[in-house]
Each structure stands twice: as C-alpha cells, then as structure tokens.
C-alpha cells in the first residue's frame, strides 16, 4: 500500500516535472532539433534557395567541399581567429578577475567599464569600430596614432590587419563576461589554502601557478570551451566590419556558410559546411571534456 502511494507520487512528480519543461522542450524541438536534422538532410541534397529546387545528391556536397579552396581558406581563417581570440580573452579576463577580486579601490568602476561592451549591441559595437578604424587619418584610431608619429594602416582593408582588427574588437566585446565568471571562481577560492601557501613561503608567481591556477582550473576549462565555441560561431563582427574581405581574409566558416546559403543561394552546399562545422565543434568539445581530468585536479 505504502509502496503504491510512493509509486503514484513519483509518477505525479514526473508528470509535473515534464509539464514544467514542456514549453522549453517544444521550443527546443521546433527551433533547435528540427533545424539541426534539416541541415543534415539538406547537406545530402542539391538545393537552391533562389530557385526553390532540391534533389538528392548523396555525398556530392561533401566531395565538392573537400575540393573547394575557399572552404580550406575559411577553415584556416577560423583557426586563426580562434587562436587569436581564445588566448587573449582567457589571459586578460583571468588577470583582470584576479585584480578585481583582490578588492582594491576603484574595482567597481573598472568592472562596470569592462562589462559595458557585453551589454552593448553587437551590431552597434561593430559599426562604431568600423568608424574608429577608418584608413588614412579619417579614423580616430589613426588620427591618434598620427599624433604620436605613427602612420596607421587601413585596418579593415589590408589583409593581415583586417583579421587583427576583428580579433581585438571581438576580445574587447566579450571580455567582461569571462571576467565575471572568473571573478566568481576567484572569490570562491578557499582562503585557508592560499593562506597556508603564503605561510609556507609561496611568492606571487608560485602562488598563482601552483595554487590559484589549479584551483581555478575547472572554471578555466569551462570558459575555454565556451570561448572556443563562441569564436567558431563568429558572424556579426565579420559581416559588419569586413564582409569577409579583403580577398576573403576574414572569411570564417560561419560567414562562408552564410555566403554560400544566402548570397550564392547554394543551400545544400552551405548545409554540408554547417555539418562539418558542427562536427569540428563537437570533436573539440569532446576532446576538451575528456582531457579535463588530466588538466584539472579539483573538478568535483
């Protein structure tokens, strides 16, 4: 009798639980799972957005993709972008979090300034930076450089500088979020461990590399994964600041997917690109997740 009541209560709890997550589940199925399956399906089709035509083509899109020099270029560009964004973001956000977590004066103000770009619209951020980075001395950045005797480049129209510019503006835009996450971890570090290390004679660098960093490693891992995935999905900064140029030097993978789907109208090929990007991100995430135990000693 008691067991039956318990079973009924468990069932009731389960129904209530499912009912609570049902709205989210419906949204997830409709707007995430369904499009995801559609992309896999489209990747096996020759599909044209403008003409509204589609026919099964097997793995033709993947074969074409393997031979496409622009795909290789977009892949390399994505790696360059991530290689620039991820370390810069992690190093600066960690250092800032350690500084701001120290409770020194003026940290609230600095914290607000750093977090301001996060709440700013990505579109507005990119447009303002496009204005600031104008070539010649028309842009405020070059005007300032000119004052100190440096002739600034045409930031967004010269190959190497265009990528550097989008990396730096992207890092500045998203730095605040990681600072906030790291600050939470910094403030939660066990004070007694740090105090004990200090008593044992650990100086600043030893304290950081031997004590604080290992304690922060679970957060570092999580932030690394999120930042890598975010950097591989960059679109708005590229679209608004460089349009993938000059000469395709900032054509990253997500932008190339957009380029193929909505400008060349080749939705099938674009879907194949999206599938490849999905697999790359999945592999990277799995790799980091599996390797976390080797790097992170304090993960619960």
């Amino acid at each position: 009798m008691r067991q039956q009541t318990l079973r009924m209560r468990t069932r009731k709890d389960a129904v209530i639980g499912w009912a609570f997550i049902a709205p989210q589940m419906v949204g997830f199925v409709l707007f995430v799972l369904l499009p995801l399956f559609s992309v896999f399906l489209y990747s096996l089709q020759e599909k044209n957005l403008l003409f509204g035509t589609s026919s099964f083509s097997g793995f033709d899109n993947f074969i074409a993709l393997a031979k496409d020099p622009l795909f290789a270029k977009s892949l390399v560009n994505t790696l360059i972008f991530s290689a620039g964004v991820v370390p810069l973001n992690l190093i600066f956000s960690l250092l800032l979090a350690l500084y701001l977590g120290g409770g020194k004066s003026g940290t609230r103000f600095v914290r607000s300034i750093i977090f301001l770009p996060v709440v700013t619209s990505g579109v507005a951020w990119a447009i303002v930076w496009k204005y600031l980075l104008q070539g010649g001395t028309a842009g405020p950045v070059n005007w300032f450089l000119d004052l100190i005797g440096i002739a600034g480049p045409n930031w967004l129209f010269e190959k190497g500088w265009a990528m550097t510019s989008v990396i730096v503006t992207r890092v500045m835009k998203n730095l605040g979020m990681n600072v906030l996450i790291f600050m939470g971890a910094v403030l939660n570090m066990p004070g007694d461990v740090i105090e004990a290390a200090r008593i044992d004679g650990a100086r600043r660098f030893t304290l950081f590399f031997r004590i604080k960093l290992p304690l922060l490693m679970p957060t570092v891992m999580m932030v690394t994964i999120v930042t890598i995935i975010g950097s591989m999905r960059v679109f708005d900064t590229i679209k608004l600041m460089t349009d993938g140029g000059p000469e395709g030097s900032t054509m990253v993978m997500v932008y190339y997917i957009y380029h193929q789907a909505f400008r060349m109208f080749d939705t099938g090929f674009a879907s194949a690109l999206a599938v490849v990007l999905f697999l790359i991100v999945l592999a990277l995430t799995a790799l980091q997740w599996l390797g976390r135990k080797r790097i992170s000693y304090y993960e619960s």
Partner: protein, 431 residues
C-alpha cells in the same frame, strides 16, 4: 525500479508528443480560420528605398488602384537596404511571408525570371497601353514572349558636384567643361586632384561610397565602357581584361592611390555632408541635397576615348508568382507603371514610357533640377545609355568577383593581373 523509470519516461514522451501534435493542430486550425476572414486585401511591397516621400508616392498608386477596382486594399512597404536586397528578398520569397510585389534590380533580372518567382504580367498590362513602353527597356524583363516585370525607372547616372568647392579651387564647373567639349576622364582626374590639393577636401566619392564593394560595377562601368571596354557581353565575351578596360581601371586606381583625390576604401567621407567635391548620383538622390549647406550642380558622366557611355540603372517591379493575391498583384504592377503613375514618378524615376519621356513635362518634373540640367544629364543620357551587364548567375558572379576586385584596392596592385583574375571568374560563369 529502472523499468518503472523507463515506463514513466515513455509515458512522459507520449504526453509531449500529444501536446506537440495538439499545438500543431491548433496552429493549423488558426491558419484555416484566418484564410476565411473577409476584409481588406493586404499586400506587402518590397523596395530598396526608405525615403518617406517616395513610399508615400507608391502608396498613392495603391490607393488609386483600390479605388479603380472598388476593393479595400492596404499596402505594407518593406524597405530592404540595397546591399542586402537580393539576399533578403530571395529568402522571403521562398518563405511563407514573402512580398506580393517587389522591386527587381537589373543585374538580378535573369536569375529572378529563371527562378519562377515572378508572375507573368502580359494580361495585366493589356489595359495600360503596353506598346508605349520602350521595347529596349522591356527586353531585359521578358522571356519567351512573356513579360515578368515592368521597368518603372530607367535612370542614368550622372555627376553631382559641389559648386562652392569648385569655386574655391578656382575651377570651371563641369557644365562649362561640357560646353567646351572638354568634359572627359582626364579633365575629371585633373579637377579632382586640383580640388584635393587646393582645399584638402576629397575630389570624388564613388556612388553611395560603395564603389569598392556593393557597387563596384556601377563605379567602373562609365569609365570602362567609354574607353571601349566592358565587363562581359550577352554573347559570352569577357572584356574586362582587354587593353581598353585595363586603361580605364588604371586611371581610377591612379586617382585613388597616386593622386589621393578619391575617398579611399574604408573611409566614410560623404559628398552629401560636404566632404567630397563630386559623386555619382541619380535623379532619385537629388532630394538629399534639398537642405544641403552648399551650392550644387549636376553634369553628365565624363567622356572617354570612345565618347560618352552613360550607365543606366534600371529597376522594375514584379508580382510574386506564389502570392495568394497573384492576379491582383499583377494588375497592381501594371497600374503602378501606367502612363499617369509613371508621369507622377518621372521626377524621381525617369520612365521607360516613350510618351512621358518625350514630353515637356518630364523636363520640369523634378523641382530641384532645372529643365536644362534634366535634358543634359538625364534625357540625353537615357537615349545613349546602357544598363549594367546581367546574367542568370549574377549573384555568384558578384560575390566571387568581389573577392578578386578586393586585390585592386591596394596601392601597389597590378591592375592587369587583377583584371585577368576577374575575367577568369566571369568566364567561369558566363561561358
């Protein structure tokens, strides 16, 4: 225990499925009910203008048409930025919420006709004297004897200039050079450089400041063609890398990087704000100068070794073949391009109707422009001008060649080598 768990999960999933199906049915039911609703016909019209006066003018045609048909029609105008127009429009047209009527760019005409997204307009046009529309103007919008869109604008590009800056630099006006027969690209180059050297203000800004990206063809075409070159031809010849084209593009490249007289790539200096002495415009842009802080004038495009070769920007309006109101939309397209409508638009968008174009009223149709200017820079150019090249693969050509054209916008670019690469892209798609 785990069996109970599994059973519970299965039931919960079944519940979810039922919920999902019920929601789908509810939405489907809602759609059926809304289809039955009787009331005003709502039409959506896509354009690339966001000028409120121009939208109001277009809306007045809808009102006139509604009155003529005795039907309550309401129109919603959707303004899509020019640089994104083809991309967003195609996406909307393939979706379920596409516009019923939409403007079409001349360069995209073959692709849109081929896609089947444009409805045939032959029947709707019959009531409005179709023979009055220039056959040359209709050619691009027709296929196999059917008309798929009607040009409402056949608008030549011309030079808009800042009179104050010309006076400050001690130069004659472009109109005076025209009168002397000396308004050619060499004079244009000299004028631009003199203004930059003497006033510090840029001599020339490319059309809408987009001459290095979205409007690269608009920017280069007047020079290239008046030098005797071209991009590609209807019979599949690629001419962008011949000697004449290379000479013309070299001239422009030198203006940008040697003379430093043209607003360079990435610089946002604007003619309309007084930051450049000349730009390329159309009659529809002139209203932007109504409240300008400087005196201005307009002149035809300069001539090259092969004479003048004005470029005409043609735009047409078509009806969406998949629209619920396709018949009504087709009739509205014909109404919007009838004689009285195009006469009302003539001051903004020069028409393709011969009767309006040849009338005296056309020359005085734009209050900001004198009859003399209208004749010199617009009416004459319409007769001798040509539209930009178009192709069924234009979206692909545009995107891929833009990446190659980017190489041109460097001080040490090898113009011939870059144009050879552009030619290879053109050949890939046009042969």
């Amino acid at each position: 225990m785990s069996t109970h768990h599994t059973k519970g999960s299965v039931r919960a999933l079944a519940l979810l499925l039922v919920l999902f199906l019920s929601l789908s049915l509810m939405f489907a039911q809602g759609a059926n009910e809304s289809a039955k609703v009787q009331g005003p016909v709502a039409l959506k019209i896509a354009t690339w203008t966001s000028n409120p006066d121009q939208i109001a003018l277009l809306n007045s045609f809808v009102e006139g048409f509604a009155k003529e048909k005795g039907l309550p029609i309401t129109a919603t105008f959707e303004s899509i930025p020019f640089a994104e127009y083809n991309t967003k429009l195609s996406l909307e047209l393939q979706g379920s919420n596409g516009p019923d009527l939409f403007w079409v760019l001349e360069t995209a005409a073959p692709a849109f006709i081929e896609s089947g997204l444009l409805a045939k307009l032959n029947e709707g046009m019959k009531a409005y004297d179709p023979e009055d529309i220039s056959a040359d103007a209709l050619e691009l919008w027709s296929k196999g004897g059917n008309v798929y869109a009607i040009p409402f604008s056949t608008s030549p590009f011309f030079i808009l200039y800042n009179k104050d800056l010309f006076a400050k630099a001690g130069l004659k006006t472009p109109e005076q050079y025209v009168a002397e027969g000396a308004w050619n690209w060499e004079t244009f180059r000299m004028v631009a450089k003199t203004i930059k050297d003497k006033t510090g203000i840029w001599g020339f800004q490319t059309v809408d400041g987009q001459g290095y990206d979205a409007r690269v063809l608009h920017n280069l075409a007047p020079m290239v063609r008046s030098y005797g070159g071209d991009f590609w031809t209807d019979d599949g010849q690629v001419l962008i890398n011949n000697d004449a084209s290379v000479a013309a593009v070299t001239l422009f490249h030198s203006m940008v990087f040697k003379d430093a007289s043209v607003v360079p790539p990435g610089n946002q200096s604007d003619f309309f704000a007084g930051n450049a002495a000349m730009t390329v415009g159309q009659i529809s842009r002139v209203s932007k100068l109504n409240e300008s802080s400087f005196a201005w004038g307009l002149a035809p495009m300069p001539a090259g070794p092969k004479g003048e070769s004005p470029v005409i920007g043609q735009a047409a309006i078509g009806a969406h073949s998949k629209s619920k109101n396709v018949a009504l939309a087709s009739e509205l397209v014909a109404y919007m391009t009838n004689k009285s409508s195009v006469a009302a638009m003539a001051g903004i968008w020069p028409p393709a109707r011969k009767s309006v174009l040849e009338s005296e009223a056309f020359l005085t149709s734009n209050k900001s422009v004198t009859a003399g200017q209208m004749k010199l820079a617009v009416a004459t150019s319409i007769k001798s001008g040509r539209v930009l090249p178009s192709h069924v693969k234009y979206p692909q050509i545009e995107v891929e060649s833009k990446m190659v054209f980017d190489k041109l916008w460097q001080p040490n670019a090898n113009v011939k080598a870059v144009l050879d690469e552009v030619a290879a892209v053109y050949t890939k798609y046009t042969k």
